[in-house]
Symmetry: C2
Subunit: 254 residues, 2 copies
């Protein structure tokens, strides 16, 4: 697990701060804490395992840059990606009481990670007034609620939608989530994963995934160039996928 310095690129900085302050008003101290926590990201290559499956008390981490996922492997090698993690997402922030098969967490691309225990500690110490949490504690709770929504979305996609619908739905979810960290412009965003990964996320074979993407392209719904994707007709995609907007904060206007 290499730990190079911190190649802060041209990308919109501090996805984590952006995410969390979209969920609740943070105090200046909390913002400072966030900046401090994300100041020295560790660079890890794709496929790095960030949390082992069943690990009892994974250290809290934040994903500052790059994509990752929670996944579960079956004995015969089949893989199911449970949820994709994007810049600004939290990993292992809720402390866990037992060793349970939540799935492992792995980087899907090269990624920048930060240790985030201070966030958990600060949230536990402040703003946990029953019924009306404030600041960081409220934001972390909201982040957890969003992750639960993504899980429910995933269940519905896998259980009741066709391949075509699944991809449309998934792309819309990505757009919404990435918009919340200011990484979508004109319905275009970075899309750094292979069709194999996509297939494992959406419960399809690679070949069928490929054909489904082609169909979406032919239908003028998406456009892919290099490692970026453009959603060319969001209303049509929404209609195909029966997509319900969840996050008002990350709406187009941003």
């Amino acid at each position: 697990m290499p730990s190079e310095p911190a190649p802060r690129g041209s990308a919109p900085p501090d996805a984590v701060l952006r995410r969390l302050s979209g969920y609740a008003r943070l105090t200046p101290e909390e913002e400072a804490l966030l900046r401090q926590v994300t100041a020295r990201p560790v660079l890890v290559p794709a496929r790095t395992e960030l949390v082992r499956d069943g690990e009892a008390a994974p250290r809290p981490q934040v994903l500052v840059e790059g994509w990752a996922c929670r996944q579960r492997l079956l004995a015969d090698g089949r893989r199911q990606i449970v949820v994709v993690l994007l810049p600004g997402d939290l990993i292992g922030l809720d402390l866990r009481r037992r060793s349970l098969p939540f799935g492992s967490v792995a980087a899907l691309t090269q990624a920048q990670i930060c240790e985030a225990s201070p966030l958990r500690e600060r949230a536990a110490a402040h703003g946990t007034a029953p019924g009306h949490e404030t600041g960081l504690a409220a934001a972390l709770r909201q982040a957890r609620e969003m992750e639960e929504i993504w899980l429910v979305n995933q269940v519905v996609r896998l259980g009741r939608q066709t391949a075509y619908e699944r991809v449309a739905h998934f792309l819309l979810e990505l757009r919404e989530r990435l918009a919340a960290v200011d990484r979508v412009h004109d319905d275009r965003f970075s899309f750094p994963i292979t069709q194999e990964v996509l297939a494992d996320a959406l419960g399809l074979s690679v070949v069928h995934m490929n054909r489904t993407m082609q169909q979406l392209r032919r239908d003028g719904l998406i456009e892919q160039r290099a490692t970026a994707i453009t959603l060319r007709d969001v209303p049509a995609l929404v209609s195909i996928a029966d997509y319900a907007i969840t996050d008002r904060a990350g709406a187009p206007g941003a």
Copy 2:
């Protein structure tokens, strides 16, 4: 929403107490509170909607008897059951900050429900020392963690398992969960749902569901009589489903 008295049957009483005390040691006061909360269950018929989808702040409830589910409906009528809820399960215990599409909660059978706000309040007031919650607060957290595991299980079933494997996996999960509330004897338990419900839970058509159950029966893996089911060969089912035991508490010995 009828509210008849409280037909305490012959069933093992107080599934909720059993569940929660399996997760953490409760104080006598907490046990008393649980008994008090579950003393006067409300009887609701099958199909009662207990929580509407997107409801901002559902009241906390506990399912004392009967089965229910969280589900999401697509515009064209397709239904996906996200998670099945069993006696002792909690509904809407985590307070929610926004109105989000978590899915609606509905009774699958006639069910007994209790208002459970006192549990949330007590847990918020006591035992929330950061990092090492105690008593009820710890038990509620554990219950939440278990529900997340069930969601992950559901994703893996739907995304990467065949119909046959899905059913095997689901039955094993039910067995484990029901065992935790002492409702499994000799791998036999009450199974009060129709094949249509099962199909909506496992992302299959009713017809295919039917054929898959038949196959499991023919293979001597399960036996159904009236509204009860027996798992005749748990090790074989575990092997077919690639099932990972999650809950040591609810193991056979009980």
